[in-house]
Amino acid sequence: MRTLQSLLVLTIVFASVAFISNKKEGYKIGDKVENFTLKNVDGKMISLNDYKTKKGVIVVFTCNHCPYSKMYEDRIIALDKKFKNIGYPVVAINPNDPSVSLGDDFESMKDRAETKGFTFPYLFDDGQKVFPKFGATKTPHVFILNKNHNNNFILSYIGAIDDNARDAKNVKDRYVEKAISDLLEGTAPMITETKAIGCSIKTKK
């Protein structure tokens, strides 16, 4: 009888653990974002800490192959051009495992960055250690980091670039731009989380 009870309790404990580990992890709004170092398409290593002289960073998980990423490429370049000089540059990261995501290998990343004339670093999450920390699930997926008075990067916005992926001309809400203009005024973004359809981040099963 005792053994049976212990077994049942153990089952509950294991089930709980399995349940928790099944949940999505990652930084929440207000969390401090740790440093990361990844290789850029120009071969140089780039760290988040290299941006400590800026006000913040617009981190965009994106990739080559995803139609939604492609639809947003020009808008990501525009964001970088608009906000780089006032303290919020774009840093793009490809989170996909190229062995299961055709066209997302490092060489193809170089080609794409050159063809499109990316004005920002396009980093390769080699080994896929960085995207899980952010809790990124798809491409494109934007995370705005804002440097606080302690010189730490704080996650201030998660989500979409704007409210119309397919049709840039008919965008009504520019979520990222709004969040940054709030930050520039010294207040937390009014909208901190938005959603959009994207391609799931590709990992080996």
Binding site: M1, L4, Q5, L8, V9, T11, I12, A15, S16, A18, F19, N22, K24, P67, S101, L102, T137, K138, H141, G159, A160, D163, N164, A165, R166, D167, N170, D173, Y175, T194, K195, A196, I197, G198, C199, S200, I201, K202
Partner: protein, 186 residues
């Protein structure tokens, strides 16, 4: 004895309230499909009428209160993992369409690709489950409307009936999908 019953109850309540993977070890489903080959021969022409809906028009299909269980898969022809998991949904449709289960494939293909991508895809594959296109730009509204936990990545699947509702932002294979469905129909 009472505590034994209590413990069992606890486990039961926990299993019922939990999502997928937890049950993996406790349940073995035997799934023979004698009807599969027979059903493959069918060829109803669903391609001539693919409804294109906005979110408000889709909502009724996600909230039916009849006796059926609905398996709603969000996919697109351009989404590789979506296409890879389609066979699981086709098989489920074959095996369960006469057992009060309806599979609905909600395509997120772009409107300008319906004619030259989606329809040929459905025809070539002889795709049997019902297909609808969701065309609604305000994703921030309808993603949360479909499920608060959904980040927006596809593939994603909603299984529901009048008593129970679960959302899965993940890929399915045959076994896992059947196993999930069992929780709704048993």
């Amino acid at each position: 004895m009472i505590s034994k019953i209590l413990n069992s109850l606890l486990v039961l309540v926990f299993l019922v309230s939990c999502e997928q993977k937890v049950k993996k070890t406790s349940e073995i489903i035997t799934n023979k499909d004698p009807f599969l080959s027979k059903n493959k021969i069918e060829n109803t022409s669903i391609t001539s009428t693919i409804p294109i809906l906005n979110y408000d028009q889709l909502v009724p299909f996600l909230n039916k209160k009849d006796d059926k269980t609905y398996v709603v898969n969000f996919w697109a022809t351009w989404c590789k993992p979506c296409v890879e998991e389609l066979p699981a949904f086709e098989k489920l449709h074959s095996n369960y369409k006469d057992k009060n289960v309806e599979v609905l494939l909600v395509s997120l293909d772009f409107p300008n690709q319906i004619e030259n991508h989606l329809i040929p895809f459905i025809k070539n594959r002889n795709l049997q489950p019902k297909v609808m296109v969701l065309d609604d730009p305000d994703q921030n509204k309808w993603i949360n409307g479909i499920d608060k936990s959904w980040s927006g990545a596809i593939p994603a699947t909603l299984i529901y009936n009048k008593n129970k509702r679960s959302f899965y932002e993940q890929s399915f294979d045959d076994n896992l999908l059947t196993k999930e469905l069992q929780q709704f129909i048993n």
